[in-house]
C-alpha cells in the first residue's frame, strides 16, 4: 500500500509485548491494512524504551517513531506505561526544540483487543509524518550505506 505523497516515510514502532504487540497481531488476524513502512520492534514493556533508542532511530534516518503501550492502569507491570508517558513527554518536547517536529513522535495506548485502533493509528501517523517530509534534522549520513 502506497502512502499518499512523494515518498515513503520510515516509521519505527515500539510495541509492548502484552498489549500493543498483541493488538498489532490482531490487526493482522483481521487483515487490516496499514502502511508497510511501519516496522515493529517488540519490547517487554513500553517503559523498556530508552530515549536513546528513539534518538538512534532518528539518527539512522527514521522519519517517525511511535511507542505503543497498554492503556493507563492496565500495564502488565502495574506502572510501566506511566514512566513511558512521563519520559516521552520530556523527550518529545526536547526533540521538538531540536527541530524534530512533534508530529513525528507519538505515544499511543493500544490494548490487545484494539487491532482496528492499531491499524488506524498507524495509517494516521504515517500520513502525518509523510506530510512533513523527510527527517533531515538528526539524520547522520555517515551511518547510511
Amino acid at each position: 500500500m502506497q502512502v499518499k505523497g512523494e515518498y515513503k516515510p520510515l516509521i519505527v514502532a515500539f510495541c509492548c509485548n502484552w498489549c500493543s504487540y498483541a493488538g498489532a497481531d490482531l490487526a493482522g488476524n483481521n487483515r487490516l491494512n496499514y502502511p508497510d513502512n511501519v516496522k515493529i520492534i517488540k519490547v517487554p514493556c513500553s517503559c523498556r524504551v530508552n530515549p536513546m533508542f528513539v534518538l538512534r532511530a532518528f539518527q539512522r534516518g527514521a522519519d517517525g517513531v511511535i511507542l505503543c503501550g497498554c492503556h493507563p492502569g492496565d500495564c502488565h507491570y502495574t506502572s510501566g506505561n506511566y514512566y513511558t508517558r512521563r519520559r516521552m513527554a520530556l523527550l518529545f518536547s526536547m526533540l521538538n526544540y531540536l527541530g524534530i517536529e512533534k508530529e513525528r513522535t507519538r505515544v499511543e495506548w493500544v490494548s490487545a483487543a484494539e487491532g482496528a485502533k492499531f491499524a488506524a493509528t498507524m495509517n494516521e501517523f504515517t500520513e502525518a509524518v509523510a506530510a512533513l517530509g523527510e527527517n533531515k534534522r538528526l539524520e547522520d549520513l555517515r551511518c547510511k550505506k
Binding site: F53, R60, H76, Y83
Partner: protein, 664 residues
C-alpha cells in the same frame, strides 16, 4: 561470531501468498553470522521441526531465526525444538512475517521487502543474544495468611485441605472478623454465626492450621518461595494452652466499665474478656490498659478464680520466626469514622448509628439480645430512616469520605429494612438512596421484595440534615422524584457508612513490597486476568483488602487465592524467567534510581568489595537484582543514569541493533 540458521516458513499460503519465501531465505543468507538458510511449508509441523533440529546439529548453529507467525503463537514451540537439539532456547528469535507482514499487505513485492527487513532485524538481534539459563529457587511448603476474617479462614482451610501447613495471623484475640459481628447475610438471610462458626471450628481442629491470634506480622524478608517472617505474639497474660475458656474470670473481674469493641462500644466488657461465645481460640485475654493488676498491681482476682492456673501477669511479647513459601493478605475492611459528618448528628445523638452498630443491635448475641431498641432510652423505634452512601462516592473532600462505591451498603440496607419490617410491622422504614446497586445473583429480586412485599419506603434523594429535637430526630431530606423536601420525625437513623481498608494494610504492604492504590486497597497483578495475585510474586490477595466485597465474592476470591497458593507450593523448585534485569557492578553508582522505579521491590543494594589497580580494596554500594522477584519490565534500565542496568533478552544493544537493521 554466531553461527545462525534462518528458517522461513510458508505457513501454507498464509505467508507464501504475499511473501516470496524463496527470495527471503536467499536474501538473508548473506547477513552477518548466517551460515544456513532455508524455507519450508510448515515450520511448526513435525517435519519442519526436524529440519530445524538437523540444521542445528549439522551446521553447529549457535543461534536461529524463524521467520514465521507471531512469537505469541509459536515462540514456545521453536524454543522447545531448539532445546531438544541442544541449542539454548533463548538463542531463538522470531521474525513476525505473518501477522505483521503477509496479512497486512497485499502486494508481493512490498511484502517480500518488508519480510526481509524484519528478518534482518531478528538476525541483528540474535547476533547479540547470549544463552540464558533460568534460575531455580526452592519453595518452602508453608503458607502464611494475614487476617483471620472469612477471607483468611476460607483461604487457610482450602490450602490446608490440599495438605500444606498454613499459619493464620490475626490481630484480634479471636478469628472471625467482621462476619462474626453480623446478624443475617443477604440475599438468603442465613444467620451469619450459623455459617461462620463451623468454619472457625474447622480451622481450630485442622492439623495443618496454626492460629496466631492477638499477633501481628512485624517483618517480612525474602522473596517468592522463601519468605522469612517475624510474627509478634502480643502478651495476653493468659497461657493459651492452659486456659479452658470457662469464662469464670470474665464474670469475676471487678473492672466492669471497659467499652466492648466487639459490640462497637454499645455495652461494656471486663478487663479480662473473651470477645464472644464462639471465639476461636476460646481463650481469655487481659486488656493491659484496663486491668488494675497490670496497671498498679492491685487486684489479682482472675488468678485466684482460675482453676486451671492459666493467668500469667508476667507474660511477655514473643517473637516467632518462620519461613513461608507464599503469603496471603486478607486484612479486610472497617467502616469509616463518622466524626466528620456532623450533618447527620452522629456524635450528638446515640440514636444515630452506623449499619454495623445496627447489625449488633439486631443480633441475638448483641447488647440488646436481638431486640431492636433505641440505644438512648431502650424504647422501640417506630420510624427508622436509613441513609445510604454516607461517605461513599464522595469526591469532594478526601479526608471526609471515599470516592469509590462501597458496594455492599445497598444490599445490607435492603436486608436491614426488610428484617425490620418483618419483625416489627408497626415500624415505618424509609431508605434514602442515590442509586440502588444490586448487581449480584438474586440481589435485585431481594431488593424488590423489600419494596414490594415488605413495604419499605425507598426514596430517591439524600438526607441533608439530622437534628435531635426532644426524643425525636428531625430528618430533612429531598425527594427528587416528587421534587419535594421532606421532614421526617424519626426515632432511629441508620447510616450506611463507607468502608475502607484496615489501617494495618498500608504498613503491611510496605513490608511485603506489594503495591497499593490511592485508597490503600491492594493492587492486583492484572485487573482482569490476575485478580487474586499481587504484582509482587508470592503475595496473594484475599477478600476486601483488594476492594469492597460482599461475603460470596470474598469467599470465591479466598478460594481462588488458595488455588494460586497451592499451585505455587506444589512445585519443588521455581523456575524463573531468565529475561530479568541485571546490573553491571563496575558501572553502578548505587544511586537508588532503579530501586525507586521497580514495581516489585526486586532491587536491593549490597556493599561489595572491589579490587583497585593498586591492589587495595574498596567497598562500594551497588545494586543487586533478585532474579526470582524481577519480572523483566525494564523500567530500571531506562532509569539508570550510568547505564549499568540492562535487561537479559532485551539488552539495549540488541534493541539498537534492531533499530539499525530496520533503518538501513
Amino acid at each position: 561470531m554466531q553461527r545462525i540458521g534462518v528458517f522461513v516458513c510458508w505457513c501454507g499460503s498464509n505467508i507464501a501468498g504475499t511473501v516470496d519465501v524463496q527470495a527471503v531465505s536467499e536474501a538473508l543468507k548473506n547477513e552477518p553470522g548466517v551460515v544456513f538458510s532455508t524455507n519450508y511449508q510448515y515450520m511448526c509441523s513435525q517435519a519442519g521441526q526436524d529440519i530445524i533440529k538437523n540444521a542445528i546439529k549439522e551446521h553447529k548453529l549457535t543461534g536461529m531465526v524463524v521467520c514465521s507467525c507471531s512469537p505469541r503463537m509459536h515462540e514456545a514451540t521453536f524454543r522447545k525444538t531448539a532445546a531438544a537439539a541442544g541449542l539454548n532456547s533463548y538463542m531463538v528469535e522470531i521474525a513476525n512475517i505473518r501477522e505483521q507482514c503477509s496479512w497486512v499487505h497485499k502486494d508481493m513485492q512490498i511484502g517480500t521487502e518488508k519480510a526481509i527487513i524484519l528478518g534482518k532485524a531478528a538476525i541483528a538481534k540474535v547476533n547479540l543474544n547470549a544463552p540464558l539459563v533460568p534460575g531455580e529457587s526452592p519453595v518452602t511448603k508453608r503458607a502464611l495468611v494475614i487476617g483471620g476474617g472469612i477471607a483468611g479462614i476460607q483461604t487457610a482451610l482450602d490450602i490446608a485441605e490440599a495438605g500444606f501447613p498454613v499459619d493464620i495471623v490475626e490481630t484480634k484475640p479471636t478469628i472471625g472478623g467482621k462476619m462474626a459481628q453480623l446478624d443475617k447475610t443477604f440475599p438468603t438471610l442465613d444467620c451469619a454465626a450459623c455459617i461462620l462458626t463451623p468454619k472457625m471450628v474447622d480451622v481450630a481442629q485442622n492439623e495443618n492450621i496454626r492460629i496466631f491470634s492477638y499477633s501481628e506480622v512485624t517483618e517480612v524478608k525474602g522473596f517468592v518461595g522463601n519468605f522469612d517472617v517475624k510474627i509478634k505474639k502480643k502478651a495476653r497474660y493468659v497461657k493459651e494452652d492452659v486456659c479452658t475458656g470457662c469464662g469464670l474470670c470474665t464474670e469475676k473481674c471487678p473492672q466492669k466499665k471497659v467499652p466492648n469493641e466487639f459490640n462497637l462500644g454499645m455495652d461494656n466488657r471486663r478487663a479480662i474478656y473473651i470477645p464472644f461465645a464462639q471465639a476461636v481460640p476460646k481463650v481469655a485475654t487481659i486488656d493491659p490498659n484496663a486491668c488494675n493488676m497490670l496497671k498498679n498491681g492491685k487486684c489479682g482476682v482472675c488468678a485466684k478464680v482460675c482453676a486451671a492456673g492459666a493467668i500469667d501477669y508476667k507474660q511477655q511479647d514473643e517473637i516467632i520466626e518462620e519461613k513461608y513459601g507464599a503469603i496471603v493478605a486478607a486484612t479486610g475492611f472497617n467502616p469509616i469514622s463518622m466524626d466528620k459528618f456532623d450533618e447527620y448528628a452522629y456524635n450528638q445523638s446515640k440514636d444515630v448509628i452506623t449499619s454495623l452498630e445496627f447489625e449488633r443491635l439486631t443480633n441475638a448475641a448483641g447488647p440488646s439480645a436481638g431486640k431492636l431498641i433505641r440505644p438512648s432510652d431502650g424504647k422501640h423505634p417506630h420510624t427508622i430512616v436509613f441513609v445510604q452512601c454516607v461517605g461513599s462516592r464522595c469526591a469532594a473532600c478526601a479526608e471526609k469520605g471515599k470516592e469509590y462505591c462501597s458496594k455492599i451498603c445497598c444490599m445490607y440496607t435492603a436486608k436491614h429494612a426488610m428484617l425490620t419490617r418483618d419483625k416489627y410491622p408497626d415500624t415505618e422504614v424509609y431508605v434514602f438512596y442515590i442509586d440502588v446497586r444490586t448487581p449480584g445473583k438474586n440481589f435485585d429480586e431481594f431488593y424488590r421484595r423489600a419494596v414490594e412485599e415488605y413495604g419499605v419506603h425507598y426514596i430517591k434523594g439524600m438526607v441533608g440534615k439530622v437534628a435531635p429535637e426532644g426524643d425525636k430526630l428531625m430528618v430533612q431530606a429531598s425527594d427528587l422524584l416528587a421534587n419535594k423536601q421532606l421532614h421526617i420525625a424519626a426515632d432511629l437513623v441508620v447510616l450506611a457508612a463507607a468502608i475502607e481498608p484496615d489501617k494495618s494494610a498500608r504498613p503491611l504492604a510496605t513490608m511485603l513490597t506489594a503495591s497499593m492504590d490511592t485508597n490503600d486497597f491492594f493492587t492486583e497483578a492484572h485487573p482482569k486476568l490476575r485478580p487474586v495475585e499481587s504484582p509482587t510474586a508470592g503475595i496473594f490477595l484475599s477478600g476486601a483488602c483488594q476492594g469492597p466485597k460482599d461475603i460470596p465474592e470474598t469467599v470465591s476470591q479466598a478460594s481462588a487465592a488458595a488455588a494460586k497458593v497451592i499451585g505455587l507450593l506444589c512445585k519443588d523448585k521455581l523456575t524463573g524467567n531468565p529475561c530479568v534485569a541485571h546490573s553491571n557492578e563496575l558501572m553502578c553508582n548505587g544511586c537508588s534510581s532503579c530501586e525507586r522505579v521497580c514495581p516489585y521491590g526486586a532491587i536491593t543494594y549490597i556493599d561489595k568489595e572491589f579490587r583497585m589497580p593498586d591492589r587495595t580494596t574498596r567497598v562500594r554500594r551497588v545494586a543487586s537484582v533478585n532474579p526470582a522477584v524481577c519480572q523483566g519490565c525494564g523500567a530500571c534500565t531506562v532509569a539508570c543514569p550510568s547505564g549499568a542496568m540492562d535487561l537479559n533478552g532485551f539488552a539495549s544493544k540488541q534493541i539498537m541493533a534492531e533499530v539499525d537493521a530496520i533503518c538501513k
